[in-house]
């Protein structure tokens, strides 16, 4: 039960029930769809960029508690961040959920509650789905930039 409580922390359950920034974004300049074919989780991440900064971010879709809470907390955390900062945070988050550190005092702030995922290897993909989707959305922008 200890492991389960580590995984399903209150803040994770709360975000999964009442996800933040859970909406379609009409003026999104970039969006991407993420899909986990193994369990059927599916999210769309919407971005509105201002220069290099994430001016607004939202998501929609269906998934388990872990994937939904991760998406919700990610959107809260990334508003106002630059692309480079977002990518760095994904890297740190990935290290956290795969059990390779960092400690709860890292720059991940509230998202450090996902440390418990590392004890459940089958759930790492759930925790990172929204982040992979975000990355795909950001890469779209790079493509657009390089075309110009």
């Amino acid at each position: 039960m200890a492991g389960l409580r580590d995984l399903y922390q209150e803040v994770i359950l709360e975000h999964s029930k009442v996800p933040r920034n859970y909406r379609e974004m009409a003026d999104a300049d970039h969006k991407a769809e993420g899909f986990n074919p193994l369990c059927g989780d599916r999210f769309t991440v919407y971005l509105h960029m201002e220069g290099d900064a994430i001016q607004d971010i939202s998501f929609q879709g269906s998934g388990c508690a872990i994937s939904k809470a991760s998406a919700s907390m990610m959107t809260q955390m990334l508003k106002g961040k630059t692309r480079a900062q977002a990518e760095k945070l994904f890297e740190t988050f990935h290290t956290l959920v795969t059990g390779h550190g960092p400690g709860p005092e890292s720059e991940l702030g509230k998202m450090a509650v996902f440390a418990g995922v590392s004890e459940f290897p089958a759930r790492v993909k759930c925790a990172t789905l929204a982040w992979h989707t975000l990355q795909a959305a950001l890469e779209n922008k790079q493509d657009a930039v390089s075309t110009e």
Binding site: Y8, C39, A65
Partner: protein, 425 residues
């Protein structure tokens, strides 16, 4: 001998044999893997529709083959080769008897149900399908009974027709019949749906198709382990099943086909064993079933499968059917009593499978929490994404039963679901 069967780990008191003499505790003693703890709890294995566990008799048969009898088949004159050939061919005979087939040449060994369906798609159907022709399946099929037909239909510019199912997950027979057309070249249906547990009315399906001279393939992956099957009585043209779902090894499956059909079909793969003579100018193919078994086959597979079928025969498939039916009824009653739980698949005729969703909790989370209690179920789309779309759910949680499961294990499942509600409360 290994000392895996540690019964001190089993918390359940030995059950009395039921009225029909079905002694589940004695059966459980034959399955070494069941007697272990997972995350500190006794394993409760309820993922039998994905794969079943193997009795010691099957494991021993495979070990014995490799320790004493291993040789290549159909080619040597030496003792071991003759022994291995005899064992391999005797397994074919056991399968023939198990399915009620009239001739052991009608039994082809393949890797799996999937390969059996692909074989028919790429030989019989590929030969007979033309532009504008049709293949008819149902909306409850496993991906393995969808994609092989899509592939051949795409190649031949033919059309894949799908007969719809109702809210209970039952085939709508009138719609099915309406979709049978002069252009339909084959009907392919599951006997028992892996995602819903629905038993299809095969006799009616086959009669309707045969009245229009359309052959029928039956996907028996889920039915072979839990329902009595007689292919001659059913009069199906093809029947496919997998060894690993019927308490045998992985990597071995069976395609039954009516002899005249098999004889007229082109070979599936080329190579050794499937030929009578080869020259650069002309190759003469071997007779069935060898025509469809190119290369050195999985020899231990049929030997393990034979041991599994003999095991089932000793218990009696009717007794297994009755036992699993009691489990399904009990589980249905207990699980559907939870507020917020909805069963997916409520057909009148069901077997083996209990698929459900829980309000506010994703199946994946149910699966993780049950796993922490030692309970193995499947969560996800069950390789039947169109079924999930039909019911408007991304996934379900599925408990599926086997011949060794007990009512106490269903009680454990129910306690596990209570824990899920506690966590998500």
């Amino acid at each position: 001998m290994t000392a895996l069967a540690d019964f001190s780990l089993n918390p359940h008191p030995p059950a009395q044999p039921d009225l029909h003499g079905y002694n589940v505790e004695r059966i459980r003693a034959d399955f070494p893997i069941l007697h272990q703890k997972v995350h500190g709890h006794p394993l409760v294995y309820l993922d039998n529709a994905a794969t079943s566990q193997k009795p010691r008799q099957v494991i021993d048969a495979i070990v014995r083959y490799y320790e004493r009898d291993n040789a290549n088949i159909h080619r040597g004159v030496h003792y071991l080769s003759e022994k291995a050939t005899e064992d391999y061919e005797n397994s074919r005979k056991t399968v023939q008897e198990f399915l009620g087939a009239g001739d052991c040449r009608e039994i082809i060994f393949v890797r799996s149900t999937t390969e059996a369906i692909n074989l028919v798609a790429q030989t019989y159907v590929r030969q007979h399908l033309g532009a504008g022709d049709e293949v008819l399946i149902t909306a409850m099929e496993h991906h393995s009974n969808i994609v092989p037909w899509q592939m051949v239909c795409q190649e031949k510019q033919a059309k894949l027709q799908v007969a719809p199912i109702n809210e209970d997950g039952e085939l709508i027979l009138q719609e099915f019949e309406r979709l049978l057309s002069p252009r339909t070249k084959i009907v392919s249906v599951a006997h028992l749906s892996n995602a819903l547990g629905t038993i299809n009315p095969l006799r009616q399906i086959i009669q309707m198709a045969h009245a229009r001279n359309i052959p029928v393939l039956v996907d028996g992956a889920q039915s072979a382990p839990r329902l009595a099957v007689d292919v001659r009585e059913l009069d199906c043209d093809f029947y496919a099943f997998s060894g690993h779902k019927i308490y045998g090894p992985t990597g071995i499956g069976v395609l039954y086909g009516k002899l005249p059909l098999l004889e007229a079909m082109p070979p599936y793969q080329g190579g050794g064993d499937m030929i009578s003579s080869v020259s650069f100018e002309r190759t003469i193919y071997n007779k069935v079933p060898h025509k469809f078994e190119a290369g050195t086959p999985d020899i231990s597979g049929p030997i393990g499968l034979r041991a599994a079928l003999e095991y089932i025969n000793r218990l009696g498939i009717e007794s297994i059917e009755r036992h699993e039916h009691e489990l399904l009824e009990y589980a249905t009653e207990r699980v559907s009593a939870f507020p917020g739980i909805k069963l997916i698949g409520t057909a009148k005729e069901k077997a083996g499978v209990l698929s459900f969703v829980m309000e506010g909790v994703h199946p994946h989370d149910i699966g993780t929490i049950l796993d922490q209690e030692g309970i193995a179920i499947r969560t996800g789309h069950h390789c039947a994404q169109p079924v999930m779309q039909r019911f408007g759910v991304p996934a379900t949680a599925r408990a599926s039963f086997g011949l060794y499961n007990t009512k106490e294990e269903i009680d454990a499942l129910v306690s596990g679901i209570e824990k899920v509600q506690e966590v998500f409360g």
